[in-house]
Amino acid sequence: MIAIKNLTKVFQAPQDVAALRNISLRVDPGDVFGIIGMSGAGKSTLLRCIAQLEKPTDGTIYVDGTDVSSLKGRELIELRKSIGVIFQGYNLLLQRDVAHNIAFPLMLSHTPKEQIWRRTQELMELVGLTAKAKAYPSQLSGGQKQRVAIARALANNPKILLCDEPTSALDSFTTQSILTLLRDINRNLGVTILIITHEIGVVRSICNKVAVIDDGLFVEQGPTAQILNAPTSDITRLLLGTAGGEQ
């Protein structure tokens, strides 16, 4: 579903920072793949490269069989529509209500009106926010905002959902409810999920595979049980020991 080979990303300014170094990764259909690492390890950069929000310096990224780094213009836009992305900061449109936030990606593709509202209704039911259709983001809790963001990311029926620290701003109870929602989306809708986090608890509760990233390098990856039960690197042990950790 996602195949990355020798991905390297170097930021030029102000001085060279190698955010990703020779990263290789394979996410299979149906996976909930976790990428865990400390702050500054390069997690967000990796996600941004997959979504083509950032141009890789070197290496290849295949999403669903297409080499995404070669895409331009319309094709690039179509690729982005086939991938859902959610962020730690929700990134909702503050001047639009819940229904219009969820409908936003559909409006971008000039979907017919009735179809937009039918789909929006479905999505609001899926994330349990039908009663909040006319509420604005400022009137919602963090968990509700992330639900809106998830519904919005699913609007175009993506096969892949990329999540950048989706629960890092939430309390542990709300975190569980969001993780449960993500797991249901994976199981019931067959959406492959790549989830980035610094919390080992997130990996433990929903990921079937995990990669540990440190300073732009993958230090180990494999099935969750194997990595959690028999970590081979210090950084993994550190992450296991400090389940809370900083961002």
Binding site: L93, Q95, R152
Partner: protein, 226 residues
Amino acid sequence: MMQTLLSALCDNGPLLLTGVWETLYMTIASALVGYLIGLPLGVLLMVSARDGIRPRRALHAVLGWAVNIGRSIPFIILIIALIPLSRAVMGTSIGYKAAVVSLVVGAAPFIARLVESSLAEIDRGVVEAARAMGATDWQIITRVLLPEAIPSLVRGVSIATIMLVGYTAMAGTLGGGGLGAIAIRYGYHRYQSQMMIITIVLLVILVQVTQVLFNLLAKAIDKRNR
């Protein structure tokens, strides 16, 4: 004192009314045309910036330069310098309608900066999310940046309008009509200090009303902090 003011007000009713009308005309007309030029200019400034949605170094530098030059010329000098332009555009350089030309040139660069800063307030994450959803640059401008910035843009309109009221008074002293012209002609050249006071009061009222109305509007349409 109060009595002489009142009688001056009664005696010059039609004149003052015309003055108010001319001032309003100049302010509103130059604000409208000023935004017609300043809004796209401000959007271009924001979009072409180094951290904008489509960085264009040279374009950004040229635009920034032009805007800064426009803003660094004192308005009173600009009016005089633009007499030939007013003649070319309006057929005359005298009167409140001709003054709109220099008012627009004076206001557009300022409006461009106001718009640029309103758009710059929008969270970069929201723009990034829109891009991740497959929005084109044009859709990001028209469906994310501008709609999200509307309350701030409205506050900008009130700042620009109030500045323009002041500029109209300056234009008035140089043959532009409006309340400024009345203040100079009667209050200064003919030593009628009541007329000076009345025009000042009228200008203050104009500014206050503008400010209050736009503040209410900005608040009413802002969906944050509810």
